[in-house]
């Protein structure tokens, strides 16, 4: 050992004490740093030196700097922080909605309920006091408003808290990233210098973990290399090594409709256990459990209020009743009924016909929209769904193609005219829903029974009945005993329009008379302008009347007897005598039967035969409005094309842009063309035939041919802006003809332009009797005649009429007035036989199916002996326009009994006409399985009793119908009012008819608009079911409404209790939740504080301790310095010896 060794030892001590002081200073500096763990410098002796057999120490050094932590406490503190934050959040969240539940000074919903029921009590005690009714209306609105406000506040908080979750997710994501980053730094530092633990980095990571725990519950696993694995309680990995998995919102939603929390990385499944701790856990708990429960409880209160009140109220009445009553809830197609196959109740004869023209009753109601088809597998899970778009112009085949093209495990086909939907696969099923097109309803697909109709309280409907009472405009009861409507939810539907009751037509052969089914009967009337269409059928006995504008030529291949088509042109003269079959028989080389019953228009020859002239009154210029406007026809822009045809009688109206010039060789009569150009002036009078005749050098071109064909040997004329006043033009197969007015008379309100001209093609002039023409101010004092000369305008005719009075002769438009008899517009008249442009079945076998509503049957109709059986018309299915059959009528297939005779022979048939000239319309008799049918049946039975002597003095005008699934009862303009009583079925309450409240829960709760607008309509009393009497001071309904206050009941599966109790229980539930949250928070806070104290006991910095250590190190440092000083002195002494 040398003397310098002591110097070395002193020096090592100085350095060591100084480092220890550094550690101590670091501790003091971080005394208030969150998460800081105090550090301790562990001193150690340096390795000794062996000299002369002795071991001499070499001084001191710092072995390591250790971080003072207890890992179990750290872990427990993290969990505790998580719980503490969760309950802090829950407590704060519950506190935020405190005002929703009111206070003793303003009890909110409780006060509203008290006011509501007290108002009913006061009304019960002063039932004739209008002020009390106003008070009830005010109280009802207040109650609705209170409930709605409570819901809005709760819902707003629910949404707010959900939005706050997003902010917390962002915070958590930053921490997860930080932890991953610190993992890397710690590992790097501790691997490179294993003796130097990354104390501060570990503290930072621990603090990040604590902060993350405060947001979401986590689990941690420490790896040997110092890194940390962090995951959720459900095992979802959040951070590992340097990998950070970020949180985000997923696409799936919770039961309360909010997006789940998922990991951004796949699989994006909801995180498990996320709601068990942390701020987010508290938020999720608040959002889904607390607020969600309060909202559902509030909705339950509303549900019970709505149905409970309506159950009483709908049985009541006011003395001030309405002439109409509508359901507050629409009956929907049920989405709950699944089946392996669905077949439409309605059938079509041809599946290629547009839905709108399919002949199905109410087909015109089909609108552009869609329905949803859902397929389920054998396990009942949804296997696919498709939205099937529907347009009125679609056909059933289109629908089939759409379903089959959807590829969702469902097939469609048309079977015997019915649409059949089938699920593919064993045990698979289908359901239809969300029909905005009315296709499902119209075709009778899966129509719902009352108890599965989608009405909110449908399950409350039970077998029973209710009574309808009708009153005259003075309030006097009409049907004193009321009419009872029986309800059975297992068999009753709201509307049966898709399930008509008319008799089946299958196999029935009509021997005489005629039956027009689904089409228009043109017997004895003018055909509409245009051409026959392929598929039209004409009877063999068809005769063209002498008043027709000309004979009808059927080109080759256009008439079919079912086997062959005509090989030669058949002409049916308008002689009023020749039948179609005799005309065929007289045609040489015609090649088809001359004795067939019916001929069908075919397309073997000319695709679109030139139409026989059906034109009656032809509008040459100006316009006529008969509900729709019939202006002259403007040709489309472009040129005539080869093959286009123009009629001889074609006229170019004055409103045309110019004359039409047909170049040389462009007009053909079949054998020759025009040798020079032919000009058709736009004078509104010159026909094409006349123009040809007037053209010098036109050649041999016929001037009398019915029509001319365009040929391309010359340049074809331009059609742009050309307006045709008369005649016909066919461009590319489309006929452009002047307008023929439909058969019938002008109606009051029709308008005619002043420039209206009647063409010579019209059957005669039109005489407007005195008072039938109005210029808006005045009308014609004498009759005005508009000649069919093709030139005189209506204005000119009025001006030329002597004594026409003050009627303007320059008015733009004239309106048909209400006085006088409007003139007939009928032009062409079919003299005999019949024509159906839809379908007509004279003496023919009817197609399979049922009669449809709107079909008409002549009184002379007989059923042939060859029919398969009698035809039975159920009660209410035959109408003479005023009365219907009260009992079923049987038409025997004896070939002789006419329908009118059969009706006359039926006992108790009622007041229906029985003359042979009567035409009967097939009506929906009103199925006993529908509410609409039952009501209409009951009204009919009252109005037309079996015994004429029992006929009422005043007929009930009540009619039931549905629109978009909403039942409507209407007494029309009779002034009759409607009352209800004795509903034992709950139908009225479930469908919210004669109801006080509407809605399914708090979301859409509302006071009935009639009541809200007119408190005199509030039901106070109850109609006497036996006498229909009700008096102003009858307080039975008001009294019962008041009694509801303390009545225990439930309509939604909750425990039966009173409305007041439901509200006070809700308040109690909230209060107990708050108390529980506060207790939990107190406990968790105490736990957290205790753990924090424990952590501080281990890791916290104690200033006194550090200062004492400082003195300790300072003293050691001073002593070490003294050693050096002393050694230095010793060295000086030694050096002195040397000197």
């Amino acid at each position: 050992m040398s003397i310098s060794s002591a110097l070395g030892i002193g020096a090592s001590s100085l350095a060591t004490q100084q480092r220890a002081m550094d550690v101590l200073a670091h501790n003091i500096a971080n005394v208030n740093t969150p998460g800081y763990s105090r550090q301790r410098a562990d001193l150690a002796t340096l390795a000794p030196e062996q000299t002369m057999g002795f071991s001499f120490g070499r001084g001191a050094t710092i072995a390591t700097i250790t971080r003072q932590v207890d890992l179990s406490i750290q872990r427990a503190l993290g969990n505790s922080a998580s719980q503490k934050q969760m309950w802090t959040q829950v407590t704060q969240g519950l506190s935020a909605i405190e005002n929703v539940f009111g206070s003793l000074s303003a009890t909110g919903l409780s006060a509203s309920f008290d006011h509501f029921f007290a108002s009913w009590q006061q009304l019960a005690n002063s039932p004739a006091d209008s002020a009390q009714k106003i008070n009830v209306g005010v109280a009802a609105n207040e109650l609705v408003t209170t409930l709605a406000n409570m819901r809005t506040q709760l819902r707003t908080e629910q949404v707010n808290i959900d939005q706050q979750i997003d902010q917390k997710i962002s915070g958590a994501n930053l921490l997860i990233k930080q932890i991953a980053s610190l993992n890397v730094q710690i590992v790097r530092q501790e691997i490179n210098g294993s003796a130097a633990p990354a104390n501060d980095l570990r503290d930072q990571r621990e603090q990040a973990l604590q902060n993350l725990s405060a947001i979401i519950p986590i689990q941690r696993v420490v790896n040997p290399d110092g890194s940390l694995l962090v995951q959720t309680p459900g095992g979802d990995l959040l951070a590992q090594d340097d990998i950070a998995h970020q949180l985000s919102r997923g696409t799936s939603v919770t039961a309360s409709g909010f997006q789940e929390i998922v990991l951004q990385s796949s699989p994006k499944v909801p995180l498990a256990g996320i709601s068990t701790g942390g701020t987010i856990g508290g938020m999720v708990d608040l959002r889904d459990n607390r607020y969600g429960t309060y909202l559902s409880t509030l909705d339950s209160v509303s549900k019970n209020l709505i149905f409970g009140s309506n159950q009483i109220y709908s049985n009541g009445s006011s003395t001030n009743r309405s002439t109409t009553a509508s359901a507050g809830q629409p009956s929907l197609i049920s989405s709950s009924s699944r089946t392996s196959s669905i077949t439409s109740q309605q059938k079509v004869s041809v599946s290629t016909i547009s839905l709108a023209n399919s002949g199905v009753p109410l087909a015109s109601q089909i609108t552009t929209g869609s329905f949803k088809l859902v397929a389920y597998n054998s396990s009942g899970d949804q296997s696919g769904s498709a939205t099937i778009n529907i347009k009125p112009t679609d056909t059933l085949d289109t629908v089939v193609a759409a379903v089959n093209g959807a590829g969702i495990g469902a097939t469609a086909s048309v079977v015997n005219g019915a649409l059949e939907l089938k699920a593919t696969g064993t045990g698979a099923s289908l359901a239809v829903t969300a029909d905005s097109s009315k296709f499902l309803e119209t075709f009778g697909i899966n129509s719902a029974l009352l108890d599965t109709s989608g009405v909110p309280f449908a399950s409350q409907i039970k077998a029973g009945s209710f009574k309808l009472h009708l009153y005259d405009s003075a309030g006097k009861p009409l049907n004193v005993a009321g009419v009872s409507i029986a309800i059975d939810p297992a068999v009753t539907m709201l509307d049966d329009r898709a399930f008509n009751t008319p008799p089946a037509t299958t196999g029935v052969i009509l021997a005489a008379g005629k039956s027009v089914i689904g089409g228009v009967d043109y017997t004895g009337s003018a055909l509409p302008s245009g051409s026959f269409a392929v598929g039209d059928s004409l009877s063999g006995v068809l005769v063209s009347d002498t008043t027709s504008t000309g004979s009808t030529a059927f080109p080759i291949g256009t008439l079919s007897d079912g086997t062959n088509t005509n090989a030669a042109i058949v002409t049916l003269p308008n002689d009023g005598v020749t039948t179609l079959k005799s005309a065929i028989a007289a045609t040489v080389g015609v090649g088809i039967s001359g004795v067939a019953t019916n001929y069908t228009i075919a397309s073997v020859g000319t695709p679109t035969p030139t139409a026989p002239a059906t034109t009656g009154l032809v509008v040459k210029s100006g316009s006529v409005t008969l509900d729709v406007t019939y202006p002259p026809v403007t040709l489309p822009t472009g040129s005539f094309a080869a093959g286009d045809s123009v009629s001889n009688t074609m006229i170019s109206a004055k409103s045309s842009s110019g004359s039409i010039t047909f170049p040389i060789g462009s007009l053909s009569d079949g054998s020759t063309t025009n040798a020079v150009a032919v000009t058709l002036p736009n004078d509104g009078s010159t026909t094409l035939g006349a123009a040809i005749a007037a053209t010098s050098g036109v050649g041999q071109l016929s001037t009398t041919l019915a029509s001319y064909t365009m040929v391309a040997s010359g340049t074809l004329p331009v059609t742009t802006g050309t307006v045709l006043g008369a005649g016909q033009v066919i461009l590319g197969g489309t006929a452009y003809v002047p307008t023929t007015l439909p058969s019938g008379s002008f109606l009051s309100g029709d308008s005619l332009s002043g420039t209206l001209i009647s063409t010579p093609a019209s059957s005669s002039s039109i005489t407007f009797p005195a008072g039938t023409l109005s210029d808006g101010t005045n009308s014609n004092a004498v009759a005005v005649t508009l000649p069919n000369d093709g030139s005189t305008t209506l204005q000119a005719a009025i001006a030329a009429t002597t004594g026409v009075g003050t009627l303007s002769s320059v008015a733009t438009t004239y309106t048909i007035g209400a006085t006088g008899t409007p003139p007939a517009t009928t032009g062409v008249v079919i003299g005999a036989g019949s024509i159906s442009l839809g379908t007509i079945y004279p003496a023919a076998t009817l197609p399979t199916g049922s009669f449809s509503v709107g079909d008409s049957l002549s009184g002379t109709l007989t059923s042939a002996t060859g029919s398969t059986g009698n035809v039975v018309f159920p009660a209410g299915t035959l109408s003479d326009g005023t009365y219907a059959n009260l009992v079923s009528v049987t038409l025997p297939n004896d070939g002789s009994t006419t329908l009118s005779a059969a009706i006359a022979a039926t006992t108790g048939v009622g007041s229906i006409a029985t003359a042979s000239t009567t035409t009967y319309t097939v009506e929906n008799g009103g199925s006993s399985s529908s509410v609409v049918g039952l009501i209409n049946q009951a009204v009919r039975a009252y109005n037309h009793p079996k015994s004429p002597s029992a006929a009422p003095v005043t007929l009930l005008t009540l009619a039931a119908s549905t629109t978009n699934g909403v039942l409507k009862l209407d007494t029309g303009n009779s002034g009759q009012t409607i009352g209800f009583s004795n509903d034992t079925s709950n139908f009225l309450a479930a469908y919210e008819i004669n109801a006080l409240f509407h809605g399914s829960d708090t979301t859409n709760l509302a006071v009935d608009s009639v009541v809200a607008n007119d408190s005199t309509r509030i039901n106070t009393g109850t109609i006497d079911a036996a006498t229909s009497n009700i008096y102003v001071a009858d307080n039975q309904t008001a009294s019962a409404m008041f009694s509801l206050q303390q009545t225990s009941f439930s309509v939604d599966g909750t425990v039966a209790t009173s409305l007041h109790q439901r509200n006070s229980d809700l308040s109690a539930k909230y209060g107990l939740d708050v108390a529980n949250a506060q207790r939990q928070l107190t406990y968790r806070t105490a736990e957290f504080n205790s753990l924090t104290a424990q952590r501080d006991a281990v890791s916290g910095v104690n200033m006194d301790e550090e200062l004492i250590n400082m003195i300790k190190f300072q003293r050691a440092y001073q002593s070490s310095a003294k050693i050096i000083t002393t050694v230095n002195t010793m060295l000086d002494s030694l050096m002195g010896l040397i000197r």
Binding site: S110, A128, V1032, S1067, N1102
Partner: protein, 294 residues
């Protein structure tokens, strides 16, 4: 146990917060006069308060309803008493005019008075109270009686259902007498008979009417007595609801009222604790080794 330097400060801070919370809540309770105001403060207690207050509202409304019935029956009794007086006067006239001492002229004069009595009787029977006919049952918008003295007819036009007043959910009382009671028809018939007898100077009819009047008067008295019995029964109902309301008022007060002495005591204790905490914080700042190091 080892204690870190920040721990005493944290503990004191928590203590101060707790004491301040105690003071705030106590002050709020004293200001409101109730132990609690919201369900968040005491869930079950708040629910009980809602229930008790609702019951009290029911009782208050019941007493109001009793008042409605009382006034209807009170007016009914008044009118019936008036009818009885009319009949009594008619009886007097009948007695006088049935005597042979009365001549045609006296009877004619008496007939004029009886006509007035008949009008009064009709007016009584058609009395309106609060705009509603008192004796027409539930048809309060219809005058119950139409009288044609010449034809000798009196017709009831009202409803046969008596009016009721709803006291509570389960309690309802009849608050009127219906005009179709025979007391009314017999009264009219008896007076009409007397009137005709006097007008026609038919002593026999006057004597017969006297008997009918006696009978009708008794029947009116019976109806009046019935109305009186209903009125008396109402007093019992009223007392019952008043007692119930008083009990509920007491119960609500006991349940909700704040214990002021206890709260004052709590505030004082809190004050002491706060003062101690502040003192401790102050002393802790001087109790540090730093202060002793030179």
């Amino acid at each position: 146990m080892r204690v870190s330097s920040v721990q005493p400060y944290n503990n004191l801070l928590q203590g101060i917060s707790q004491q301040q919370d105690i003071r705030t809540k106590a002050n709020a309770n004293i200001a409101a006069g109730t132990r609690f105001q919201t369900p968040a403060q005491a869930g079950l207690d708040y629910k009980l308060s809602l229930d008790l207050r609702q019951m009290r509202t029911v009782e208050t409304n019941a007493l109001t309803a009793v008042g409605v019935a009382e006034s209807q029956l009170g007016v009914t009794q008044t009118i019936l008493m008036d009818m009885e007086k009319v009949l009594a006067r008619a009886q007097v006239l009948a007695v006088q005019q049935s005597s042979s001492t009365s001549g045609p002229n006296e009877r004619k004069s008496a007939g004029v008075e009886v006509q007035h009595l008949l009008d009064q009787l009709k007016s009584d029977a058609n009395t309106k109270y609060a705009g509603e006919h008192l004796f027409s049952g539930t048809a309060t918008d219809i005058a119950p009686w139409s009288v044609d003295a010449a034809a000798g007819t009196a017709t009831y036009n009202g409803s046969s259902t008596a009016r009721t007043v709803r006291i509570t959910e389960t309690q309802s009382v009849v608050s009127s007498e219906v005009g179709n009671d025979q007391a009314f028809s017999n009264s009219f018939q008896a007076v009409i008979k007397l009137l005709k007898g006097l007008q026609s100077n038919t002593v026999a009819d006057v004597q017969t009417a006297l008997g009918d009047l006696n009978s009708a008067r008794n029947q009116v008295v019976a109806v009046d007595a019935r109305a009186g019995a209903k009125f008396s029964a109402l007093q019992s109902i009223k007392t019952s609801h008043q007692d119930m309301k008083t009990n509920l008022d007491k119960r609500i007060n006991t349940h909700e009222a704040v214990d002021v002495p206890k709260l004052v005591s709590d505030i004082q204790l809190s004050d002491i604790a706060l003062q101690a905490s502040y003192k401790q914080i102050s002393s802790m700042s001087s109790l540090s080794l730093v202060n002793f190091l030179r």
